[in-house]
């Protein structure tokens, strides 16, 4: 999460430049409206429906044509529904000529609004009967509705700006954390994961080698490890053959141990040693 884009996009607040200009000039902030080519406007022109190219500050001050119209209505008591069509058309044409690529997008929205105002006016000039006031499509009704809806959220935004918030009105309280005693957490493994890993690795091995990897019964493999560990851990070099068999394991246990021994011998991991016929048999780790 980075705040960088937010600060870039969100600040400085619009009107900031205007505010700064006002402070700089020491003008009464309420009086000064805009500064165009160094000339102070203390009053908003009442007949301006499209911000002229020169009024850069203007674009920063208003959020768009709805905002501008609201201003004209609320502050200038302007009847936006009764404007001079000729005048707005002239401004419209002039503006298209002056329009720079830079402000095209924003300007477009003002132009649409100017066109709408001109349309309203022209429809009002038509004979009354054809102008149905109850009509859903009445552009005046639509415009008023949009203006009212916009005004509602404009005030909602102003209210939101007064809600106490972090960084300005409230600050989180923190204390330095103590030196943490970190416990090592061991990974958790599901047996299924091990099996999936096995099947995958064997599958892969089959793809790369001629024959399938052979797996002996697991009881034998396990016993091989056990026997090998005993032989390796034994204090003496030789481990008696008989000591590997445990009666309690029964016949099956004996067979498993025997198979394990055979496999260990075949893999040359242990040697069997017998000094003479019928002498005790011993095991030892395979010598090279």
């Amino acid at each position: 999460m980075s705040d960088q884009p937010l600060t870039e996009v969100i600040a400085p607040a619009p009107g900031e430049r205007l505010r700064a200009l006002r402070e700089q000039r020491g003008d009464d902030p309420e009086e000064l409206y805009a500064i165009v080519s160094g000339e102070a406007f203390t009053q908003m022109p009442t007949d301006l429906y499209i911000p002229p190219d020169a009024l850069e500050v203007f674009l920063e001050t208003f959020e768009g044509p709805l905002d501008l119209l609201l201003y004209l209505i609320r502050r200038q008591n302007l009847d936006i529904l009764d404007i001079k069509v000729a005048e707005i058309t002239r401004q419209y044409m002039q503006y298209i000529e002056l329009m720079t690529a830079l402000q095209w997008e924003l300007a477009a929205e003002y132009l649409v609004m100017a066109a709408l105002l001109a349309e309203i006016k022209s429809r009002m000039l038509l004979p009354r009967p054809s102008f149905d006031l109850e009509d859903e499509d009445d552009p005046r009704a639509q415009l008023i509705r949009r203006l009212q809806e916009y005004e509602r959220f404009k005030s909602a935004a102003e209210q939101l700006d007064t809600v106490p918030r972090l960084e300005r009105d409230l600050f989180r309280a923190y204390a330095e954390r103590p030196e943490l005693t970190r416990q090592q957490v061991e990974p958790e493994v599901d047996l299924k994961e091990v099996l999936i890993a096995l099947s995958r690795v064997l599958h892969r091995a089959e793809m790369y080698t001629r024959h399938a990897v052979k797996l002996e019964p697991l009881s034998v493999r396990e016993r091989m490890s056990d026997v090998l560990a005993r032989v390796n851990d034994a204090p003496e070099e030789f481990v008696p053959f008989v000591s590997l068999f445990n009666v309690r394991e029964g016949r099956l246990g004996v067979i498993v141990t025997f198979l394990a021994l055979m496999e260990l011998i075949r893999e040359r991991l242990i040697d069997l040693v017998q000094n003479g016929a019928f002498a005790p048999i011993y095991l030892r780790a395979a010598a090279n």
């Binding site: 996009v9 009445d138 939101l160 809600v163």
Partner: protein
Amino acid sequence: MLELQRIKQIVEAALLCADEPLTVDLLERLFAEGECDKPTLKSIIESIEEDCAGRGIELKRVASGYRFQVRQELAPWMSRMWEDRPPRYSRAVLETLALIAYKQPVTRGDIEQVRGVAVNSNMVRALLERDWIRVVGYREVPGRPAMYGTTKTFLDYFNLKSLDELPTLPEIRALIEPIEAELAGAGPEYVEGPRVEFPTDTVVVAEEFLETDVEPRAERER
């Protein structure tokens, strides 16, 4: 169970060194089996809240849990600690946020419809990155535009427990009285509405507008 005083120390300390607000559930996880139970935790939290009376900080419950914060009345002194002025948000941001907060879920098209200007996509991205808004779905119209809603982080930032704690959405105000009256036809059946605060003939219109969806959704989207 641990001694109550020890539990209180742990809870207070945890709330002061956590990066984010903590819920009772998260607090409970600090304790080993049998060290503390939920009812105890809740009463401890209350007692910590009471302890804050008269102090410079308060325990506040916001959307994502409890956090300690400096009381608002002390902000003038606190702000002297930092050279930077607190961030200010442009009207475009605040209006967009207000629209998303009050009308969620909304698409960019919905926002543009109300504001009458294009929504800057960098701004939307910045709000998403800040985790103040999130995509809550897509509207099933051509182009499947994303619908946005606010997040807990947004509520936390504005010190709110839930969306209902937002100030109520301002009423629609009468705009151009003569025309509105004319448009409404001043029918008596409308006069009785519950929100009468304006002169009768204008209220009628205002109510009309309140209840009317400006335009069918599908048309607006494109």
